[in-house]
């Protein structure tokens, strides 16, 4: 799958935890650091709030990739354990996604603190490039059954 490198603009859904990563993204914004518009951010209270259902639904609805970002492990999560839940869900999903035909690289987990606007920018830029190379999600719009 390396088709359509020309003009393919991936849609990346990013779930960002309120306390660290979202603030980091905000910082990138206020500091006028440019990051690709391909990344659509969704603020959640904690990375541990990201139900694996959200990830599967994002893929079903045509996301080319999903990024989950929370506070640094082991001890930065505002709710203490949330980022560990995210870590475990991430590995479980990564093992399962290929069984549904989705490349595991389409899911990414990052720890980005409130002060790391630059890291947020780098991750978004680099991940967008990576997904551009990988090509569009194999899920055709609307998930056709039958």
């Amino acid at each position: 799958m390396s088709s359509d490198k020309s003009g393919f603009e991936p849609r990346i859904v990013a779930f960002l935890c309120n306390w660290c990563s979202y603030t980091g993204a905000d910082l990138a914004g206020t500091a006028r650091m440019k990051y690709p518009a391909n990344v659509r951010t969704i603020r959640v209270m904690c990375s541990g709030r990201v139900d694996a259902q959200f990830v599967m639904k994002a893929f079903a609805e045509g996301a080319d990739a999903v990024l989950i970002s929370g506070c640094h492990t082991p001890s930065d999560c505002h709710y203490q354990e949330g980022n560990f839940k995210a870590l475990r869900r991430y590995y479980l999903l990564k093992k399962m996604l290929p069984q549904f035909g989705i490349e595991p690289e389409r899911l990414r987990l990052e720890w980005i603190s409130a002060a790391e606007g630059d890291k947020f920018q780098e991750v978004c830029t680099e991940y967008t490039e990576q997904i551009k190379k990988l090509g569009p999600s194999p899920v055709k719009k609307g998930v056709k059954n039958g």
Binding site: K95, Q99, G146
Partner: protein, 320 residues
């Protein structure tokens, strides 16, 4: 007053749901007395033409079991929908795609190959596989064509109610029939079973340690299963935390973990993903390496977490 007309139909199923009806034993007589069975191919000799001749909407309720995985089934359920007032999806396959839905994790060619050519018990020197159309001395023969993916009934026609289970327990059938005959039904689209999970009523729940942690998973055959302890506490995957109750925890009482046949509870769509979310709370692991080591001990996550519900997962099937 004329007795209400009732029909039963089967699609891609193992016959267990038909068996469940027959297993009502003497209780079936009560049902039979109260209704007029107008179509039941498994037990009584009716033909498609009989159904076609019926007036639209004239069957009060039709119970349909099995997933939809052929063009013939699709055509039949559309016909039955037209002729029926209520459609009840009966059993896990009709409700969620069930076991036939596991085929959605592979492709049609591989299924035909495994079933007809490479299966260890197959003797098929001519390498015959079923074709939708094949020539014969008497003209072209037609067979139902296997669909690329198995579907739950509500992915093909409008469904009024669901009775879950593989197969459906007797009590749920009798309760549903009584509710229908007395017009005492919940809102359309309801699953006619409790809204709580199996864990809520499971006897083993009280054996759960305060903080349940898992450091390795076992398949049921790999360990000696304790008869009283929560399966998850033994490192055995039990779908109880995300599976609708109402089966009287019959597998668990038989010392086997819940495999999830009742499907998700209300407000959850994707049973397997919900299970991933729940399971993640229980890992005894905080680093990438530790987490990976535990995940490595889980065989076939999709087939285990969605054993009955691949068709009704968000993705519905393997994409390619």
């Amino acid at each position: 007053m004329a007795k209400p007309k009732v029909a039963f139909y089967w699609c891609a199923s193992c016959g267990g749901c038909e068996e469940a009806v027959v297993d009502l034993a003497e209780d079936i007589l009560k049902v039979v007395e109260a209704v007029d069975i107008v179509f039941w191919p498994c037990a009584l000799d009716f033909k498609k033409t009989d159904v076609e001749a019926m007036e639209d909407g004239s069957i009060a309720v039709t119970f349909i079991n099995g997933a939809i995985n052929s063009d013939e089934q699709e055509e039949m359920v559309h016909l039955i929908r037209k002729k029926s007032g209520l459609i009840v999806a009966f059993g896990a396959c009709s409700h969620l795609g069930g076991i036939p839905g596991l085929a959605n994790l592979t492709d049609k060619e591989s299924i035909l190959r495994a079933s007809y050519l490479t299966g260890p018990t197959n003797v098929n020197q001519e390498k015959t596989i079923p074709l939708a159309k094949s020539p014969s001395p008497d003209g072209e023969l037609h067979l139902p064509e296997l669909k690329a993916n198995a579907l739950a009934l509500d992915q093909v026609i409008d469904v009024d109610y669901y009775i879950p289970g593989c197969s459906v327990p007797k009590k749920l059938i009798l309760d549903a029939v009584t509710a229908i005959l007395t017009g005492n039904l919940p809102p359309k689209g309801s699953v006619l079973a409790p809204t709580r999970t199996n864990c809520d009523t499971c006897e083993r729940n009280k054996t759960k340690p305060e903080k349940l942690t898992i450091s390795k998973f076992y398949r049921p055959y790999e360990i000696e299963l304790d008869e009283e302890k929560c399966f998850l506490a033994q490192g055995v995957i039990c779908m109880g935390p995300v599976t609708r109750g109402g089966c009287d925890e019959r597998c668990i009482k038989g010392n086997m973990p819940c495999r999830g046949c009742f499907g998700p509870v209300d407000n959850v769509y994707d049973q397997g993903a919900k299970f991933i979310s729940a399971l993640a709370s229980l890992f005894d692991a905080k680093t990438d390496e530790e987490v990976q080591a535990i995940v490595d001990t889980i065989q076939d996550p999709a087939g285990t977490f969605y054993r009955f519900s691949v068709a009704k997962s968000y993705l519905g099937h393997k994409v390619s």
